[in-house]
Each structure stands twice: as structure tokens, then as C-alpha cells.
Symmetry: C2
Subunit: 180 residues, 2 copies
Amino acid sequence: MKKINKTRYAILGMLFDEPLTGYELRKRVLDSTAHFWQESDASIYPMLKKLKQEKKLTSHDESTGKRKRIVFEITNAGKKEFLAWLAKPVDEREHHRSEFLLKIFFGAHAHKNILLKLLKQQQLDLLAARKRFKEIGHIISHKNLATHPHQPFWNITVRFGLKRAASELEWVNESIQALK
Amino acid sequence: MKKINKTRYAILGMLFDEPLTGYELRKRVLDSTAHFWQESDASIYPMLKKLKQEKKLTSHDESTGKRKRIVFEITNAGKKEFLAWLAKPVDEREHHRSEFLLKIFFGAHAHKNILLKLLKQQQLDLLAARKRFKEIGHIISHKNLATHPHQPFWNITVRFGLKRAASELEWVNESIQALK
DNA sequence: TTGCACATGTAAACTGTTACATGATTGG
DNA sequence: CCAATCATGTAACAGTTTACATGTGCAA
């Protein structure tokens, strides 16, 4: 079974209820899904072009003067494809690599101090991540965003990040103790 | 900054204290690091060849009759490279994609039942994962393995998997409730 | 006037997987 | 005798990132 490109679904999803430019799209991905989904320029712009060719998107030029601005809008065919993807079970074969855990796994070959340094760095990263998730949690619970129709789902993904960070922090602390 | 290939470190680490064939190497990866590190044939065999060219490994032929068998052994240069990697802080830019969370994030566009189905499948997968981690935990705590010098580190990575599964299970349950 | 955000895009390099290709040995 | 495991390897392809390339508009 061939692996299929999922950038298309991130794009279709972002465009589902409002037209955006490639740049705006990229920003959305950067500050709303960054902790579980990333895209770069070089994946977004070509994919927008491809989706347009497939008639999953339309585009219109909103350039003002010399300032370029191309806005993309989802078509019914695009919505249909997106919804079909949503309804499919997730791709089982998705697996992740963690260089950090690989180092821990081979820890017997390192001096204790090296491992402690790795674990403490991880601890700092996790504390920072937890703080960020808390902030995001606050932002989406207040003001205009609290009643946004997507808010409950954003909240679920934020809670995922929060819980993961908390559990990994516990693990790091426990592992630091075990090592000493 | 260029991304660097980390398959080499997985290989060097596995060969650090015993020579192995490519096939054995692959099996080790498959049943000891599979939950945080994977390799396929097509990454291992070419990398073994490359590492040999770089003099990080040596090989000798142990074929018996027609049965091929090429055993690779790490050199001092290989050990040195591996230890230098271990001591380096982990690559910050490592990020993961989760198709599952991407679907949840866009959940507002799906019917409730579709989301429940996704969450329940995830729940089943996590229960299976937790069971597997428990089994691995038992295996490495008993018999000859309990005193293996690497055991404490294996144990730390298993506890990582166990804790993560537990925390994600809590999250799934909570999310299923929230959705109803 | 300088830096930042806006804005779009390509080329090259690299990573990694799937599918393909081939065959031997061992145990039930 | 047949299935599983041992054993090694390549070709083609898909995915993804980094670096490159170029320029505008605005605000301090």
C-alpha cells in the first residue's frame, strides 16, 4: 500500500470555512497545529497549485498594486474529499522516531552525567511546552474564541498536549531519580 | 542546517557490544526499539555498506555452504562517533505528525459518530499498546535479562511507553465524555 | 532607514518506504 | 513437503525540508 500525502487534508481543512492565502494558511498551521502537524512553504505552495488543478480549490487574485495576494477557496469537490478523509480510520502505519529515546535506550554506553544532562534538557523543554499549552488553553477559553464552533475541538487537542507534557514530566523526574 | 541521517547511530549502538548480521540487527530494532525507532531493510543494508566504507564498521563473511551470512563489527572510529552523538543534545527540530490529532482538530466538520468511532479505535489501540508494554516490562524484569547491564535503560524506555499510553487513555476517555 | 511582516515560489537534496528479486535452511 | 525464518540486496518512488530567490508595504 502506497503512502499518501496528507498535506492536502491540512490545507482543505483550513480552507473549509474561510478562504485564505498560502501565507495565511501557513501561519494558521504554525500557530494552531504546530504541536502535532507542521508544514513548510515548500509543501504548501505546490500543493495549493495541485489542488487547484484537481478542482478541489479555486483561486482569485486580490493583489493590490504591486502587492501580490492570491486567495484560495475550497470547492464542493474539495469539501467532499476532506469529509471522506475525516470519516476514514487513521493510517495505522504512522509511527514516530524519537532520537531522545534512542539515546536513553543506549544509555549504558554513556556516563551518568551525560544522561542527566539529556534528561534535564528534556525536562526544561517539557516545562516550556506545558506553559505554552496552558497559555493556549487560556487564549481559546476567553473573549471571542470561547464561543467559536471549533473551540471544543481545539480544546481537546490542547488538553492532549497538556496531558502528554505532564505525563512525560513525571517520567523524566522519575528517570532522573532512578539514575542517581 | 542540514538534517542528518540517524539510522547510522541506531546501527552503531546495536553493534556497540556485539557483532551482528544485517538481519539480526533489523530484528533487534524490530523487537526492542519499535515503539520509538524503526528501520527497514532498505535503510539498514545500504547504511551498513556506507559505514563500512567510512571504516566505522568491519565485516567478515561467516557464510556456511550456500547460506550467506555477513557479520558486522564496530571499529574504534565507529565507537567514537557513536559516543560523540550520545553526548550531543538531541536535535531540537524533531517534530511529529499525528493524523489522528489533525482529524480531531477539524472535528467540527464531522458528525459526532465519526469522531466517536475515531476515538474508540484509538482507545483500543492504546489498550493494546499498554498491554504490550506491560508484557515487555515483565520479560525484561525476569530471568537472565534482569541483570543485563542495559536493563535499567530498557526499563526506562518501557516506562515511557507505559506512562504515555496511560495518559493518552485518560485523555481519550475524557474526550469521549466531553463529546457526548 | 532599517527591520519586520507580508507574500510567493523553485531546485536540489535527502529521507524513507514499498515493492521487487532471490535463494537457503530448519522444523514440524 | 511446506511454511517460517534466515539472509541480502536494489529500484523506484513519494515525501519533506533546506536553501535559494525575489520583492512589497508599513511602522518605529
